[in-house]
């Protein structure tokens, strides 16, 4: 017989049993004793209908225990944590035909019920060497652990029940097709414009007589049209599965006894397909690579297409080729972004350079050639009023501002006619002569002014100012220690062999 715990009772005889804040006798662990595996499944089913198993799953241990008389029963042990959790577990266990106990290591006493709101305490501990000693008002029994039951394995072994209602549930579907049906289903989806993803999964051979892995096509269909339902569910070799939890799906027309969504034992990266009709579930540790079904659509190639010959291949009549000319135009100037400064105008540029703003100096780029300097300023060259202005009619192609090229061909055509040289900037002079300046030779005007010391005193002064900030080196003499010349060869010793060489 057990003693009821009284209000404000402070001492308990059961080892590991304490009083929680509400005064309820509670150990660190809770235990549910169930008479059989069936009852265990019923307990899990009932428990997961009302809430998630996630809270107790981390500490949950399911074991088959055996009493002295050889009767086998099932225990679930988990962290008790609070009387709220234990109350809920106790209610579900009572419904499943089990008993609830609490304790810490070996001795578990009956959890509270309506007769003892603050729980029970043991009158006398049973001396035992067994793994478990359970004390109940109706019985006291000791048990040895026979084996453990893995919850995941248990869930995998449970067969889904027929439930036609799942066929009408909306949402995505997994479809598993035998390898022979996969391509046909792909084309069926493509023809029907059904959005789907497909991958090929492999399972180990089902028996040692098979020498190749079992391949099946796996489809993920966000929404299966209703008209396809009968075809997909009744065709042998096809299986339609309803996702019921991350990493788990149950065949349409069946329902798993346990609410799998409340049992987070299946990893998201994989997939377990629970099949009905007594078939084993299909387990994929990792999802295969999935691709859109449209990528697998059948393609048909046309015959060789006859193409017209390009102008380069065709015979060009000599009479059609004319020289490029530049004619003055009254059109307003646009995109004037370059200037050609001849050698005799360089002195003007030197004078103008003093007046240029920092932004202009930074953005303008200049190239020095035998023909003079070419200056480019993407924002407009008007700020540097030196030389002959050019406008950019095509990337890398400039003609003088105020002139148009005739014949009035498109700039692209003109650029191609000039050979479209890579890395060259072309300038077409007023006399029709075209010069090319390597793009790499354009450097920042700022840098060019700094480097060209002979005609840019501004840079020299700036550099002097910078170096003037450097502290002058000063020697401070000190002691050189004992035998300061220990590394210096004596005067009589031979000279060092050879000198250093410049790398």
């Amino acid at each position: 017989m057990l003693d009821r715990v009284a209000v404000h009772q402070t001492r308990l005889r059961t080892p590991g049993l304490g009083l929680e804040a509400k005064g309820v006798a509670l150990g660190s662990r809770g235990l549910v004793l169930l008479p059989s595996i069936d009852r265990l499944v019923a307990f899990l089913a009932l428990f997961t209908r009302g809430g998630s198993l996630e809270d107790i799953l981390r500490s949950l241990t399911v074991e088959v225990v055996r009493s002295k008389l050889g009767a086998r029963e099932v225990t679930l042990t988990f962290n008790a944590e609070s009387s709220d959790r234990m109350d809920r577990v106790s209610e579900v266990a009572r419904l499943a035909g089990g008993y609830t106990f609490t304790g810490t290591s070996r001795h578990f006493v009956q959890y509270r019920d309506a007769a003892a709101p603050f729980g029970y305490d043991i009158a006398q501990i049973t001396p035992t060497e067994t793994a478990l000693a359970l004390y109940h008002n109706a019985f006291s029994q000791t048990y040895d652990v026979e084996r453990k039951i893995d919850v995941r394995s248990l869930l995998m072994r449970l067969q889904p029940h027929p439930d036609p209602a799942t066929e009408r549930e909306a949402g995505a579907r997994w479809i598993c097709a035998e390898s022979g049906l996969g391509p046909a289903l792909i084309h069926y989806f493509v023809r029907s414009s059904v959005e789907a993803e497909v991958g090929v999964a492999e399972w180990p051979p089902e028996s040692s007589f098979d020498d190749a892995p079992v391949r099946r096509y796996l489809f993920r269909v966000p929404a299966v049209p209703e008209r396809m339902g009968p075809l997909l569910t009744r065709t042998p070799g096809l299986g339609v599965f309803l996702p019921v939890a991350p990493g788990a799906a149950v065949e349409v027309g069946f329902r798993h006894p346990v609410n799998l969504r409340a049992c987070p034992v299946f990893p998201d990266a994989g997939l377990v397909l629970f099949r009905g009709r007594g078939l084993d579930p299909l387990e994929l540790p990792r999802l295969p690579a999935l691709g859109d079904v449209t990528a697998f659509a059948r393609v048909e190639l046309r015959k060789q297409i006859g193409t017209a010959k390009t102008t380069a291949q065709a015979i060009r009549p000599d009479a059609a080729a004319i020289a490029l000319r530049l004619v003055p135009t009254t059109e307003p100037w646009r995109a004037v972004t370059a200037t050609w400064i001849r050698s005799e105008e360089m002195a003007i540029l030197r004078h103008v350079a003093y007046a240029l703003g920092p932004d202009t100096l930074r953005k303008a780029r200049v190239a020095f050639t035998d023909e003079g300097a070419f200056l480019r300023q993407p924002n407009g060259i008007e700020g540097i009023p030196v030389g002959e202005f050019f406008r950019e009619i095509h990337p890398g192609l400039y003609i003088p501002a105020g002139y148009d090229a005739v014949p009035a061909v498109a700039p692209e055509v003109l650029y191609r006619a000039l050979g479209a040289p890579v890395g060259q900037v072309l300038f077409v002079g007023r006399d029709g002569r075209t010069v090319g300046v390597p793009n790499d030779s354009f450097v920042s005007l700022e840098a060019a002014l700094l480097e060209a010391q002979s005609w840019a005193p501004l840079a020299a002064e700036a550099a002097f100012d910078t170096s003037a900030e450097t502290q002058l080196p000063e020697v401070v003499l000190g002691s050189v220690g004992i035998r300061p010349l220990r590394d210096v060869a004596p005067a009589a010793e031979s000279k060092p062999e050879g000198g250093t060489s410049e790398a």
């Binding site: 010391q453 080196p473 000063e474 020697v475 003499l477 000190g478 060092p496 060489s501 410049e502």
Partner: protein, 296 residues
Amino acid sequence: MIKEEEVSQRAFELATRVLGPLVLGGTITPVRPLGARLALAIGDRPIADADLRTRIDVARVRRARLLAAVDTLPDLTGAEWAMVAALNDLVQVTNHELASRLTRGRHVRLLASVRELCEHLPPPRDVRSALGRHATFANVLSVSRTDTLVSWWTGRANFRGQPPTPRLLRWRELRRVRVEPRAVPLSEMCEGLEVVRGEEFADALTMWLSRSPLTDLATATRKAPLFGWSASTLSLVATPLGRTLAWRALARQPVDLVHATVTRAARELPAGFLPAKELADGFAAEVVASMKPKAS
């Protein structure tokens, strides 16, 4: 046989205590003399302190860009390391704490070692390496030593390159203490040492300068040691690019002094070295013609 660990350690000391302050400015505290063999054993190696290396690189490029449009310079070569070591030893020659009364020959021995080391240093292989050496050693004639003369009512004391003893500076008013610091340039650091003659020290410094011809030309108007054409400086101005750099280096100095210096140096070349004399005369004539004194 010199151990690699020792060479690395001495190179690290040399970089942090001599090379860094020489290029970046600051206090040079010379290290124990290295001697010719150890200096040449350093060889081509980067500066171990990455931060110091970066700052020295930036300063060298900044110095080189005063003469030429370059963005990078070659790393320190073995010859440059040896030049740093030679400079360290040259400064140590002037250190009065190097020897005692019984070991006064150390100064002469160390000076001989410096000369021997300079003789083994090759001239720059090309204009770029000459520019690299100049970028490293351009500040060399800016190196100075502060000698302090402390006098008080009953005596005086001279401190060569060392701060005065705090004891002597106490009760300044009462003891009528006067402190007279004096900056001593590198060329005059040997003054006050009886064991080494000034001419010998100047010869060694001239020899050291000749190993960086662009630096030699960039300081041509110095008072001492007087500039004279050497094989390396003549080799430099014999090339068009080297001539341009030399011209730019000279252009940064007073024009009248440049005229006088190059003319005198060309005149001092012995008549027997005709090609060299012609080269020096031609360069002097070009400098005189192109550099006009500013009209005041």
